[in-house]
Symmetry: C2
Subunit: 735 residues, 2 copies
Amino acid sequence: MEKIPAIFWLAPVVSVLALSFAYYFFKKMMEAPEGTDVMKKIATHVRKGARAYLRQQYKVVGIVFIIITVIFSIMAYGLGIQNPWVPFAFLTGGTFSGLAGYFGMKAATFASSRVANACRTCLDGGLRLAFRSGAVLGLTVVGLVLLDISLWFIVLNLAIPETTPGIKLLTITATMLTFGMGASTQALFARVGGGIYTKAADVGADLVGKIEANIPEDDPRNPATIADNVGDNVGDVAGMGADLFESFAGSILATSLLGAAAYLSYGEKIQINAVLAPLLIAAVGTLLSILGVFLVKTKEGATQKQLLRALGFGVNSSAFFIVIFSFVILYFLNIPNYVGLWGSIVVGLLAGIGIGQSTEYYTASAYKPTKMIAASSHTGPATVIISGVGIGLISTAIPLIIVVVAITLAYGFATPNLFSFDAESINYGLYGIGIASVGMLSTLGITLATDAYGPIADNAGGNAEMAHLGKEVRQRTDALDSLGNTTAATGKGFAIGSAALTALALLAAYFEEVKMMFVNFLGRSDELINGVPAKDAQFIDFIYYYDIHLMNAKVLVGVMIGVMSVFLFSGLTMNAVGRAAGKMVDEVRRQFREIKGIMEEKAEPDYARCVEISTKGAQREMLIPSLLALFIPIFVGLIFGVPAVTGLLIGTISAGFALAIFMANAGGAWDNAKKYIEEGNYGGKGSDDHKAAVIGDTVGDPFKDTSGPSLNILIKLMSMAAVVTAGVAVSYHLL
Amino acid sequence: MEKIPAIFWLAPVVSVLALSFAYYFFKKMMEAPEGTDVMKKIATHVRKGARAYLRQQYKVVGIVFIIITVIFSIMAYGLGIQNPWVPFAFLTGGTFSGLAGYFGMKAATFASSRVANACRTCLDGGLRLAFRSGAVLGLTVVGLVLLDISLWFIVLNLAIPETTPGIKLLTITATMLTFGMGASTQALFARVGGGIYTKAADVGADLVGKIEANIPEDDPRNPATIADNVGDNVGDVAGMGADLFESFAGSILATSLLGAAAYLSYGEKIQINAVLAPLLIAAVGTLLSILGVFLVKTKEGATQKQLLRALGFGVNSSAFFIVIFSFVILYFLNIPNYVGLWGSIVVGLLAGIGIGQSTEYYTASAYKPTKMIAASSHTGPATVIISGVGIGLISTAIPLIIVVVAITLAYGFATPNLFSFDAESINYGLYGIGIASVGMLSTLGITLATDAYGPIADNAGGNAEMAHLGKEVRQRTDALDSLGNTTAATGKGFAIGSAALTALALLAAYFEEVKMMFVNFLGRSDELINGVPAKDAQFIDFIYYYDIHLMNAKVLVGVMIGVMSVFLFSGLTMNAVGRAAGKMVDEVRRQFREIKGIMEEKAEPDYARCVEISTKGAQREMLIPSLLALFIPIFVGLIFGVPAVTGLLIGTISAGFALAIFMANAGGAWDNAKKYIEEGNYGGKGSDDHKAAVIGDTVGDPFKDTSGPSLNILIKLMSMAAVVTAGVAVSYHLL
């Protein structure tokens, strides 16, 4: 193979830089004063709860990882249907993802009281502190991903022997992809466990506190309030971090493999450039993210709009410059059709923005849909639910159309003769889809910072409320929090959109995996059919050998199982929240009944008990849905083989994306419809309309924070599991 | 072509027989006394409302039919991309389906007061009358389908010229399929319009009547009560009838086409037998249905269980004998592998029963899921909704697995070498899937009678309540009604299951349609590729020419648009109910406020105004979702061509089936959880738990009676539209 080009080293350098800045922001935040003793005490409660949860979570996940590693080792060393590096790559992916979640959450839990304290003096300080604490998560995630990929690339380049020209790079990239499988597995548990935790606490706290006892949100008299604040951290910080760690890693790795396959015939010099392009774009995006973080500032007395503009300025500057720099990178790397590929990147970026905009339209109270839900509260909770479900379902249309257009354009631009769908163009088109997903995610460092900012602001508000800080302080934290709700909603849209594109890149990578086995193990590469041009003949042979055409009933079977998996998984996570929340409600009611003096603040509620209920509930409930996601692709492969697995992935990605958008948007819209009423519309707080809207909001909680976001991981993990175990479906299948 | 074999004439004879019995049951029912003057008056109100609605509906649908017929005529006579018989076949399908709905509803609206009156003396008389009135719909539907197909077969056999052997039958069956498209279009409007109508009235009546004014269901003081009863007829009788008319016709016609294609090479004698087999199985099933209707009887004082057993005995006897007779038919027709095909039929029947059982498990209060929802009412309406959504989502797993297993077995049994998936076996396997759907639907005459029985019993109860008949009479009608709820739930499961299998048969037919154009228009049939056996080469050529393999990004695009269509369509119908119900609520509140003396029964409410609101709401709201369903397949074909349309159908069928099951089961479970509480559990009627459950029930109304069942038609209509306009996608497409 050609020597690794010098520009490669940009990636490890940027990764170290990102991690250093993360550490710098963390140190700076730790220097800020923690506030009063009460504030400290509350923060310690939350921090302890969060740490206890994470420890418990990593124990369970650790066992799962050991089991999977053993299985992979058997597949690699016993059956020989997998690369010997797979078990190790799998483990590092999981470990790095876990570390990112841990550090991000640590920063968030240390930040909350400090942000609340900063708000005692001014708004600007609060915003900057909260945002830079969020940046700790953002930069840790992208830094660790870049680091892990760079290290593996160096190691595998040394370890894997040179064979036929071009094949080495294919093998390296295919092996690295399994690192993503480790990240996916970790992410699933983080999202599902965290999601169940946070919503069990939230629903439980709201149902008894707000509705029955008529005490406000985050009131220290509510026994579930600490658990609720812990939940924001484990669900929204650690969970979101693991989710996007996975997307970032998955999109880069899948695209590298697609690049190795597409540019195989161009010689190794071009091929290695195509392999490194996604990594380098991500590295430059990370550099721009660091710069962007420094651009976010605001002044005292800033309005909600100005705050939003401050965040937007940082994010948009990074996005703007990546458009320019990605062109420079592709040009510099001298990849054929670099203009077209640059078009694909821009398409990915625009798709991300488009999905975010659509999320905002369907969930912000400034627009018609949420206003309609608020208006329907006039006829009671039933119509609130009906209209929320209706709007949620409708809201899937625009994002799906955006993805469809994005696939078509990203594919079409990347093909040599614009929009050619013939056998020869396919590899280039799929690389285009991959690179679009990398484009969308390139500035993740800063977009993730704005996402993590939300729960930090929320927790700061909680801290201020529980510590009975003055009205002015509460107003400032409220301003930060309300901003956080907007960024959280668009962040969710972004997370789903990037998950969908990443999963599509993985689906494309699945074809490459299968094709490699077709060529390597089955030795069918040079079996030419007379009368058809060589490449086409190989391609036809490939399609025909695996029967991956649409008249094969197994494809349909696969799609149906894929759709089923998505529905079943969502139902299981929904019910898990219902069950855990039910237990929380009973506990809160019990404490109100049995611990005398809670209401008069003469006795402290037993916060720890509620934390424990959420922790146990989450751990117990997360196993079955998670294992389902891991094993369905393997079982389908074992019974029906490659065509059904392909169908499975197509079904899972399509239905999973739609269901995730439906759940996230319906939940977001219910939440904001309630807030809209609380602002004094339709009777305001305490009216019957408000009560109806609160019920909608409560229903929306598991929609938008448990089942919806968990689906992001489901679609990526199932694709990953299919890619990594492709050898099983190829070598053994019943029908 | 061979002469039409004598056994063909069984079909028209049975069709006349079925229609005669329908007329006989109708006459018998009309002879029964109508009851008191009040009862007559109420029945007249309902009948007038229903007739007014249907007249309005047929006007709108008429306009749509004229437009589509013009388009088809242009396609057939102008562009030459369609058979010249298509516009006519389309029109008769629509007309016959409309007639079936009209007659069925006429019988139902005449029956309600008579059933209530029969219940004044004994239960047995009431059951028999209600059931036989339901049989009018059942037998009219199957009779008209058999008649229309038989007539067209005779006409086309005379009209279409003899060409290459075997091609004539392919042309005849392909042409007849468009008759199904007319039925689909009619059905969509019936289901969507009827569904919106009935739930706008029901939700409106419940929200104000039950919850705000605290008056019981069907109380004559409620202005929306007549509209509610009208709704049962237009939604559950006419809508359900049109739905299954379509499934029955679609499955027979698609299977005939698949038979003509699969057995082309066996010579015309075998080929015509394979074409007629589905028609003959349906004819014999219809004969058995007539016999089954006469087997349903019970005695006075029968328990709920005995009533259910009485109905079950009729249905099961028909099913049992069709298993035997279908074997005889296949054997007699001498179709190769008749044992395997018979296996496929049995698979279809068992799948229907399995889906029904699963529906019952997830929606009947005797089982855990519904009890869980009832228990969650203890923590308020939010947890009722959460657990209902969770259980609804989970409940999709078993039916989807059943369909997956059924597809695999029905396909596998029908292939010459059991479970062979190679190019040569595909046609036989697809015929197997088709014949399984025919098997499932063969005894539709009697299953539809039990479905239509439900709303008739419901209306009889309404009539008794409004006419203030004695407690004993109410108990009897309640017993009938409660039985109706069980049959309605399993009936819904059956309707969805058969819709899915019919749609799959249509998907298979789509391949045949496209293949015929490949052979006829494009003349690619004898372009053999050297080195590959002839048949395989043709097949590869076919797959390759159309690019219908899984690596084509257009397939993915199609699946995504399919999933999107399903979500968007459900959201639109959901919101339509929300909007129409909101208007109804306002109107009922206004009448309670402005018409003095309603509550004391001194003044009569303005029923007609509520009927008008429902009618207008339904008409206004049904157009957009319906047109969407019609035109999406055409647009996708025009932009992306055949691979995307195929993906579209796969996506629509899979996601549509899952969403339909989710909605139907969640709705059914909420309904029965409420009834379970009303039986005295968890505090019983009037408790907070009950109020929470009523909210769940109200949310479930549009789930189970509007959006859910409308999806059945959506998946069939989109498949039909794709089949009929296949020429467009083949001849013109942008990318």
